[in-house]
Subunit: 207 residues, 2 copies
């Protein structure tokens, strides 16, 4: 069994969406070996920190919260698609050139995976491409940017996917991953009543 | 494939260690559909909130941090052992009655799994029992209390396990799990430089 870690490291100097100060995680050491005999830390973080899953509530009023999404959505056969040559956004036409099967989790590898700082012009999934994936009945869509869309009024890509029960993972790191088939495991923490969760996302080959 | 969720829900009224106020997670909604067109939350939480993994640094000066532990520790064959009849602590003698194999992840099911409030007299793993598991070369040990030990001066159970590279999971929920063999998946978030992480822990049967 070969395990590939496709998660962002979570630290105070990591990239955050639009470099907003309030989105940076803050760690506090509450005990260490100078003051006691153990080491303990707490964290303040946004639910959309690093590699994370969006549940429907993120963009859909009264949508499902992260604790209500079935766990088998997060352990799935999966396909990584290489779009590293795409400049601006992934379109329906880009997707039509790939073999996409029903009930598959798709991960979109782009030039975003090669950037460690937030890129205001990150490659995203265009709304008609999202509609195409809805029609293909995929199980989930992951991308290697902190957002799955930008500059689309009303967030149509999010809404098309989330209203169809299609899970979104943002903030993947796919630089070292080749196009092909894998098993993905990306389980959210069991936060009650919220719209998202950071995850440790991995791919497995030859399970 | 049958998936069993063995994680605690994370909410503001969950049980925390010794009911300490500062250990309770705090959620803040930073945007909702009254003030914007999306829902966003952040959280302040202790790394030992709910179901979580302790890395060596928790009790060992200069011990490995959670991001340095190999990922194959967290995806493993695993055995649930039923100790629901134990009153005070799990001893070497209790363990000797069970079949324990090298490189196995052991989960200790006790009466703790049936309590939703913090129990100051929770069942724990006694230090000689920890030494026995070290000699058996298990991969990891999980328990259904927020601590793997109590009232043992110097935290010997933690130290014996963590100094041997044996992973500890605390805060499991095993009420509905029968003794037997499973696959466990319990991946920590990729926090850099800290001693622990909350996890979503699951068991899989018939993968």
């Amino acid at each position: 069994m070969k395990i590939y870690d496709i998660s962002m490291s979570i630290s105070e100097n990591m990239q955050v969406y639009k470099n907003k100060e309030e989105k940076k995680p803050v760690f506090s050491v509450t005990r260490d070996f100078k003051t006691g005999n153990s080491f303990e830390t707490n964290i303040k973080m946004d639910m959309h920190t690093g590699t994370h899953i969006d549940a429907p509530l993120h963009m859909i009023r009264d949508g499902a919260t992260i604790d209500k999404v079935r766990l088998d959505k997060f352990i799935s056969k999966c396909k990584v698609l290489d779009f590293t040559n795409v400049e601006d956004c992934i379109t329906k036409s880009n997707l039509e050139k790939k073999c996409i099967e029903e009930n598959e989790f798709l991960l979109l590898k782009t030039r975003n995976s090669f950037k460690d700082c937030f890129d205001y012009n990150f490659v995203y999934l265009e709304k008609e491409a999202a509609q195409y994936l809805k029609e293909k009945k995929v199980k989930g869509v992951g991308i290697d940017a902190l957002g799955i869309e930008r500059n689309q009024k009303g967030h149509p890509t999010h809404k098309i996917l989330l209203s169809s029960g299609i899970i979104i993972i943002e903030g993947l790191r796919l630089k070292n991953i080749e196009e092909g088939k894998y098993i993905i495991i990306a389980l959210p923490l069991k936060f009650v009543g919220v719209e998202a969760s950071p995850v440790r996302a991995i791919l497995i080959k030859d399970m």
